[in-house]
Amino acid sequence: MTVALKVEDLSKTFALKKPLFGAAPPGVRAVRPMSVEVQRGETLGIVGESGCGKSTLARMLVGLLEPSTGRIEIAGKALDNADPAAFGRLIQYVFQDPISSLNPRKTIRQIMEAPLRLLYGMNREARDKRIAEIFDSVNLRHEFLHRYPHEFSGGQAQRIGIARALAAAPEIIVLDEPVSALDVSVQAQVLNLLGRLREEFDLTYLFISHDLAVVEAVSDRVVVLYFGSVVEVGNAKTIFNSPRHPYTRLLAESAPVVGRPLTAPEQKGTELPDPLNPPPGCAFAGRCPKATDICRREDPALRRMGEDQFAACHHPIEA
């Protein structure tokens, strides 16, 4: 297997406004230095709650946001210029809100043609042929090309978004909550389509979602983020059944499941730490039942905990 995407020490700190007097505050660390590798043809799921940095990470990967530190390698080549067009041919993005990712004043044909013309310089004939091929792959009717985005339902619009990403013929597609705005019956259609396209076009996916069940259903491996850092990485089959990090377990137990009685795994009204004033040590320590002094002092590093599972915890859950 070859490595499709390699990320080393990638981080993003948003600078805060310097006050009139005094030094500038340290800034908000949306993503702390993280390293991730994705194999070709693999689907890497990224889960985490709001504010964990998953969208910031995704936007850095596709070049929409410049990283503060670190490097991104796609298929062995480093991408260090922040030119989205250079990224565009290698990595594409499917947005959460399908309707707002399509310009309301353009026809679907105009939207589909842009990447073909600008990234590949195709002439009209080649473009028409390619668009027809892609539309067949994503089950969209050809007469849709003359319509405007507001005429489509969420599921159709998301398929158009996927078709646009495919038009750039990328190696990797970052899917940022691609089904969370869709109804469940339509969600399944889109997820199955994504699975089929991965085989057909030999794609690598980064699938970002807050829905553990969806992530588990589509992913090979899963990364769990908390407060801007990777807290656990593991095989999708096992990570939620035998989590090593207490946060992963909390997530898995919080998801409502048919047939499990209602329990709040956390009775306290616990909240995320304040990003402007992050606590020292492990960010999860304040909510963690197993936290001890070392957790509040030292930030745990990601350690191997089993065959293909890694967790950043001083007191991991025993398997």
Partner: protein
Amino acid sequence: MSAFLKLLFRNRLAAMGAVVLGAILLLVLVTPLLPLPDPNVTDTSQRFLRPFEAAGHLLGTDHLGRDLLARLLYGTRLSLAVGFAAAVIAAFFGSAIGIVAGYFGRRTDNIIMRGVDMLMAFPYILLALAIVAALGPGLLNALIAVAAVNIPFFARNIRGITVGLAAREFVDAAKLSGKGHLRIILTEVLPNVLPVIVIAMSTTVGWMILETAGLSFLGLGSQPPVADLGSMLGEARAALITAPHTSVVPGLMIFLIVMSINLLGDGVRDALDPRLKSGALSRPRSMTRVDRKGPVREAAQKGLLDLQALETQFHVGARVYRAVGGVDLHVKKGECLGIIGESGSGKSVTALSVMGLVASPPGVITAGAVRYDGHDLLSSGYREMRQRRGENVAYIFQDPLATLHPLYKVEDQLAEAIQSHHRVSDGEARERSLELLRAVRIPNPESRLKNYPHEMSGGMRQRVGIAMALANDPDVIIADEPTTALDVTVQAQILALLDDLRRERGLAIVFITHDFGVVAQLCDRVAVMYAGRIVEEGPTKAVLDAPAHPYTKRLIACVPELGGGQRELAAIPGLPPSVDDLPPGCAFAPRCHKARDACAQGEIPLDGTPPRAVRCLYPEEAV
């Protein structure tokens, strides 16, 4: 385009403005063809002729004996041309500055907009005078001055719109399609701000004509002998008393032009503004309109709150959307009823209809009854309904940030909810607020009372939302997707809280959701909605274990469940029908693999042995 014109001319005043302006434009366009005397030829023997006094001088003559009608028409031509030119120039440069500032943001935005602010700090007439003073008098320079003075107006307006657009996802998508900044500005941003530019222009042209006339009046615009409306007024000023017609004629023309342009401009703005178009700014009634044909059949009360054959429709133009098409439901004291369905299935409209909260227009309740403890809520007046809202039935909504007022402290909002129903002192209301926050398990309730909604996390805000619903000890709480916007760990806490409250206080809860996991954990009974009707109903466990309606069965199969591993998911092909065009018979038939001819004919009843019922001819399970 034709829809735009239709909308525009529905506005009578705008239509009038368009007619007047059209007539004036037509007149000045054909002026050179009319048999008029030369407007600049003086004839002092014929000075100050009154209107209709002499043949050949229909509107009389001015102080140099020049024909007023000719001067008026040529002057109007010039004034209109200068006004429009100034508007176009100001719109072009102002919009360009605004788009660049808004699109690039940060430092570019800061530098440009502070410059614009400085320009705006001068009184506009002073600025215009200064520009003319520097460039020298003349119509062209007056035009430049008027345009320059109006640039900040366009720049600020367009920048505001562009900032919003630049953060939209389609701009990111365009970047990934390989578009550069210039291309994005021209092909993605500009088409979206164009309507705003047109609106801004249509509302400022009249103003610019006035400003140009003002400069000409002061002798800084058009130079003699050439006439424009302002200079005509200026020259006539000396004879205002002796020959009033020389100033009344151009004055009247200025009035007509500016009034017609402003009326038309307002009309254009209203017709182009999408918010005004959708009627969102028209004030809804305080209660949903009830328009029931015929009397409501009497029925025995089954629970604390009963819905009986409730029908709610939206009347938009000629279309009728049957959002709720005859729903029967009941909820008992201490019971939790789940209503599950996809978007557009009518579950929220059903819930809002109970207390008459569906916006009217366009919503109308056309049939059925809502019985609370034997009393039909829909036949009560506004006063009574208002008394019952919150007191008998309270709501919890999806987005607590949108339901809490951003400018008031939590304490004030809770106190208001209490005091609008009960005469209690401020101190007592505060005590009760504190109790409520404790009841919903907010840590440090004393300090939280002083918080504004934006200072709290989503989970805390939803707890405040629940506290508000509890403020007047209601018997029924309708919760419309209260946890959809929350993270899973927070969702678990909120669900546990609702469950505790129900047991402690004997509350009846109607819980609307699209999540089977939530229903399974919280609800005693569940009703499944599709296309505005209930297709299946029964105890939660029975329905989830052995769904009878094919829709329920396949919908459950669509939902991935944690612990299932990587897999292909079951999907339902097709889309739910639009409720303004429902198929006859079963609404699910076009997507159903078991559908036969009988499914597409006639009314299918909701049938079964209580507590279960299903609306299907060929159910998966006999109930």
